[in-house]
């Protein structure tokens, strides 16, 4: 719990608003890019919000694990007999708390930008609520995998986006009409990612030491 609180505090002291601002910016440029056709926008709006969420998830990756590796915090946690998997789980929980809810709030004005109506916004919010924990988990796992490498930021993007594709497919589909089955599949993918990510993170932290 203290680890989670530490993650939340560090994120808030840093730039927790940055991914959200980025999310809104991407949502804003969609109508500029595809034109003001309301019907077309409403049809692609859910998917556009998902792309915005995915790119926003990339932004904080470099501050999730690397600072703790560089200043020895991860080493001291190991010496204090805290399993790396617990560190990973705490980082995921802390990261989601400062990323998921803010993103859901930002999705409300974001949905206006891409012309979603109330019902579509509701579906999109549900899909994002299920998907953001998985995005946070992927971000932490990828951050741990790339910690300490040169050009880690770009590499993290290359790693995260393909891994997020199943989530994106089902999440975007669940945001559209008749998305019930897609929502279940999205939940299944998200569950798999959230359950597996702490172990990937833990193994990556251990591997980075040797």
């Amino acid at each position: 719990m203290r680890l989670v609180a530490r993650e939340v505090r560090r994120a808030l002291a840093g730039a927790a608003w940055l991914p959200v601002a980025f999310f809104l910016l991407v949502a804003t440029i969609v109508p500029f890019a595809v034109g003001p056709d309301a019907q077309l926008l409403a049809r692609i709006g859910g998917g556009a919000l998902w792309i915005a969420a995915l790119t926003a998830a990339l932004l904080p990756i470099e501050r999730l694990v690397e600072p703790d590796r560089a200043d020895g915090t991860l080493d001291q946690l190991a010496i204090a007999n805290v399993p790396e998997e617990i560190v990973g789980a705490a980082k995921i929980a802390g990261h989601w708390l400062t990323f998921g809810p803010l993103l859901l709030v930002a999705a409300v004005p974001g949905s206006v930008m891409v012309g979603l109506d109330g019902a579509a916004l509701g579906r999109c919010l549900v899909a994002l609520a299920i998907g953001t924990p998985a995005l946070a988990a992927l971000a932490v796992a990828v951050a741990a995998l790339t910690a300490g490498l040169p050009r880690a930021g770009a590499l993290a993007g290359l790693l995260l986006i393909p891994l997020a594709v199943p989530l994106l497919i089902f999440g975007a589909a669940a945001s559209g009409a008749d998305g019930g089955a897609a929502l279940k599949l999205e939940a299944a993918v998200a569950l798999l990612i959230v359950a597996g990510a702490p172990f990937v993170t833990g193994a990556a932290i251990r591997a980075a030491r040797s």
């Binding site: 560090r10 200043d71 030491r209």
Partner: protein
């Protein structure tokens, strides 16, 4: 009494280079060893191996609970020193702050600490942990004369209280130390 540290025939390879092999070392309560050797001879790697952060490529390492002071500060830069140290807790934090004369700095953000003050903070974390085995990697670096005296006194008290110390350092250390040359 049983040893706080027992290394038997340990070998360590880093980056394809053999740092040491057949290393035997044991520290009983009250004992201390001073690891010496040129830069790159594996002093810090030995410390990390004993701390459990590196696995020996051969041999065995058995040890009691340890506390490590190395180059990593491991304190939140934005927090005041007192709160940053409290994150790591430890039953002897107040005593450690007093020992290293950090009490007047508890409200200062970690990022504003000088090199020597940061070093005192690392040592305070080690002492606060109450671990019986201290691993000090170049612990005297950056300390002023007062800081060195305080550290030497803390080490002496730790040993009198049944603790052991493994220190890597280029400078001669005060008191009785077993020399371990790498």
């Amino acid at each position: 009494m049983s040893a706080l540290l027992r290394i038997e025939g340990a070998a360590l390879v880093r980056g394809g280079r053999l740092l040491f092999e057949g290393l035997d070392l044991s520290l009983a309560p009250g004992e201390a060893a001073h690891v010496t050797g040129p830069n790159g001879s594996g002093k810090s790697s030995l410390m990390r191996m004993v701390a459990g952060l590196l696995r020996p490529d051969a041999g065995r390492v058995e040890r009691a609970a340890v506390a490590l002071a190395d180059t990593g500060l491991a304190l939140d830069r934005e927090l005041p020193l007192g709160r940053a140290l409290r994150f790591w807790g430890g039953p002897r934090l107040a005593e450690a702050l007093a020992t290293f004369d950090l009490e007047r700095l508890t409200e200062v953000p970690v990022r504003l600490l000088s090199t020597g003050q940061s070093q005192r903070a690392r040592l305070a974390r080690v002492m606060a942990s109450n671990a019986p085995l201290w691993l000090l990697d170049e612990a005297h670096g950056g300390l002023d004369r007062d800081g060195v005296a305080r550290l030497d006194a803390a080490i002496a008290r730790h040993r009198d209280g049944g603790g052991a110390v493994l220190a890597a350092s280029h400078v001669p250390l005060a008191g009785q130390w077993r020399e371990v040359a790498l």
